[in-house]
């Protein structure tokens, strides 16, 4: 060890310019954000990679003004599961709340956490800064009507979320140490092999793991870092030209948790996030109450512009595309990532955890995102020509500011915490995907890459970050939904059997009997 240290010292003495170069380069990269529009250099290379990916993923069906293939794919998936599972998003809703309350918890079942705990863990990856910034982006690009389509996407997305999380439970693996391995990689490979398609399953699982490992760098990382910076620099002008400094601070905090194993920061963020979410929604209600008389008008604006948008490229279709894209970006329905967290739940009924999971798009998109949307539309800041350059978190902050002067500070704190907790959760998803491809031993390389991308996210501009994050996140839905389609027969059978046992009352009676018995030592 000492030998290695002295070697390193002599190496650094010989190459003293190396650390100097690093220190000089960091602000250089930061400056590059300003000429992101012009190709060339670091940003130019990144832009061309994003362009190539977009070309494939956004391949338009139906000519120049058609719907991109990937959006059609997500809409088809959500619609298909809603109809195939006979509107499970409606009929499972009440039961989902009962399960969360613990009525169906059986401590003797296998798994690591309760239904509620698994739900909360998945939610910490879902509720991110997208709930504040993403809605603003949707309204900026697609008009207020995009918020309506986001809600529709959230409603239908509940069914795709149900499908993927049921599969995540069904094909999970309980490891010898009691931890659970689950998620799309497992249900694609194990699930499809159980219906005699093992080759297809393995191929899709690898494809999924590749796209997941890359996608975690975007939506769950660069986008979060970028918008956390936007929210913080909005109230702390000190950071205005110091994006790189903010990037280092953010990456250091996330790094301490995921590399240094300082779990306390993670758990503190985990506790503060729900608190922040509650404060945030209370503020939304406050703004809505202040502008009470304008509510009917705001709702009329949202609905009329949904079907007849003005100044939106592509008209109604354009608004639908933007609404669905932003909704999926926020609630991950069809992406498969949440199935990883849900598979840890303690249960022997896979459908039960799937039903819990359908609450996620509801809370995330139909509730929190809609709150933000109504605030933005009510305050009217988005339509003010003077604030045309505001986008993302800055637009949301400006909207709240018109009613609650100090609220941008809350958005800065909430945004920062949301970003940290979402980044930590997504680094977990990405690490599992990486480990699936390269084994457990090289995960530190993944973590280093993750932190590097987080840093880059803070210093380059929103458009590019968003373009990259979108394209790689949506790519995950290709192998995931394809697998879910192929396994939809399995899900439907499980659901029918579960529902008939639930209705007959046999399920609760059985649980009652288990609880009254002497506890079984495991």
């Amino acid at each position: 060890m000492e030998q290695q240290l002295s070697k390193l010292k002599t190496y650094l003495k010989k190459h003293f310019w190396l650390p100097v170069l690093l220190i000089v380069l960091i602000p250089r990269i930061a400056l590059a954000q300003e000429d992101a529009g012009s190709p060339g250099g670091f940003v130019g290379i990144f832009q061309s990679i994003v362009d190539a990916l977009s070309y494939v993923i956004y391949f338009k069906i139906g000519g120049e003004n058609g719907i991109p293939f990937i959006v059609l794919w997500l809409i088809a998936g959500a619609l298909f599961f809603t109809i195939r599972m006979k509107f499970i998003n409606v009929r499972g809703f009440k039961h989902a709340i009962e399960i969360i309350q613990g009525k169906y918890d059986d401590p003797n079942d296998e798994g690591a956490v309760s239904h509620f705990q698994a739900f909360a863990a998945a939610l910490s990856g879902t509720v991110g800064i997208g709930n504040i910034a993403g809605v603003a982006i949707a309204i900026r690009m697609g008009g207020p009507g995009a918020a309506f389509w986001m809600t529709v996407a959230g409603f239908l997305g509940m069914s795709s979320k149900f499908a993927e999380c049921t599969l995540g439970q069904k094909y999970r693996i309980i490891k010898p140490d009691g931890t659970v391995g689950g998620g799309p990689m497992y249900y694609l490979s194990r699930g499809l092999s159980s219906i005699g398609m093992s080759k297809v399953g393995q191929g899709l699982a690898i494809l999924y793991a590749i796209s997941c490992a890359i996608a975690t760098m975007g939506a769950g990382n660069m986008f979060q870092a970028n918008q956390a910076y936007a929210a913080v620099s909005n109230v702390l002008p000190f950071f205005d030209n110091l994006a790189w400094l903010f990037g280092i601070i953010l990456v250091a905090i996330v790094g301490l948790v995921i590399l240094g194993g300082i779990e306390r920061i993670g758990s503190v963020a985990g506790i503060l996030v729900p608190v922040m979410a509650v404060i945030y929604t209370i503020a939304c209600v406050w703004v809505i109450l202040v502008k009470f008389t304008d509510i009917p008008n705001a709702i009329i604006t949202i609905i009329t512009t949904a079907f007849n948008p003005q100044a939106v490229a592509g008209g109604t279709i354009g608004a639908i595309i933007i609404g669905f894209q932003r909704a999926v970006f926020s609630n991950e329905a069809g992406i498969g990532s949440a199935a990883i967290a849900h598979s840890a739940a303690r249960t022997d009924e896979s459908v039960r955890e799937g039903i819990v999971a359908l609450l996620e798009p509801f809370l995330d998109t139909m509730y929190i995102c809609n709150m933000t949307a109504i605030v933005i539309v009510l305050t009217g800041v988005y339509a003010d020509p003077g604030s045309a350059d505001l986008d993302g978190a800055r637009l949301s902050a400006a909207s709240f500011e018109t009613v609650i002067g100090w609220f941008p500070y809350v958005i800065a704190v909430a945004g920062f915490l949301f970003a940290v907790s979402t980044m930590i959760t997504w680094s977990y998803y990405g690490q599992l995907a990486w480990a699936y491809l390269f084994g457990d031993k090289t995960v530190n390389i993944y973590k280093m890459l993750f932190l590097a991308f987080g840093f880059i996210g803070t210093v380059i501009n929103l458009d590019l970050v968003l373009e990259f994050s979108d394209v790689v996140l949506l790519a995950m839905s290709v192998p995931n939904l394809l697998g879910c389609f192929l396994l939809s027969g399995v899900i439907a059978r499980e659901l029918d059997s579960y529902m008939s046992r639930l209705k007959s009352g046999a399920m609760l009676a059985e649980l009652e009997e288990v609880r009254n018995r002497e506890p079984v030592l495991k």
């Binding site: 140490d177 009691g178 194993g261 993670g266 758990s267």
Partner: protein, 141 residues
């Protein structure tokens, strides 16, 4: 064979079939099964793993579960008196440290001999055990 007889032999186990196959050759070096120690190294949980987030599964519990699992598996294989140890951390570092702790005079380790990217990036656990081990190492191929 008596000059080859060892007092304490360590066998790292990663639950793969090849690692279980290392127990039989290791047993040839000792007079009694109790001189054999099996070690499994768990990686620490990611802070966002639901079990870590809610603290429902601590390292001690994970170790106990693995010990019980290995005990049962070894029982089925006909080994009744083998010692079992479970550690959490980096596999090669833990194996080497533990070998020092129990003054092992031989480590028997199977080699998965990684190919491709992981080999270039990190090499295999067996490679690093060979490099830093305090005692002779038998690598099975």
């Amino acid at each position: 064979m008596s000059w080859l007889t060892k007092k304490s032999v360590l066998v790292p186990i990663d639950f793969s079939e090849t690692s279980y196959e290392a127990i039989a050759p290791a047993k040839d070096f000792v007079e009694d099964e109790s001189a054999l120690t099996l070690i499994h190294v768990l990686t620490s949980l990611h802070p966002a793993d639901p079990a870590a987030m809610w603290n429902t599964l601590g390292d001690e519990q994970r170790k106990e579960k693995v010990k019980a699992f290995l005990g049962e598996k070894l029982g089925e294989m006909g080994y009744k008196n083998v010692q079992i140890e479970v550690k959490v951390g980096d596999p090669s570092a833990q194996i080497i440290d533990f070998a020092k702790d129990i003054a092992a005079d031989l480590i028997v380790i199977p080699c998965h001999c990684n190919k491709g990217i992981s080999r270039y990036l990190l090499g295999s656990v067996a490679e690093r055990v060979v490099r830093f081990s305090p005692c002779p190492v038998l690598v099975l191929k």
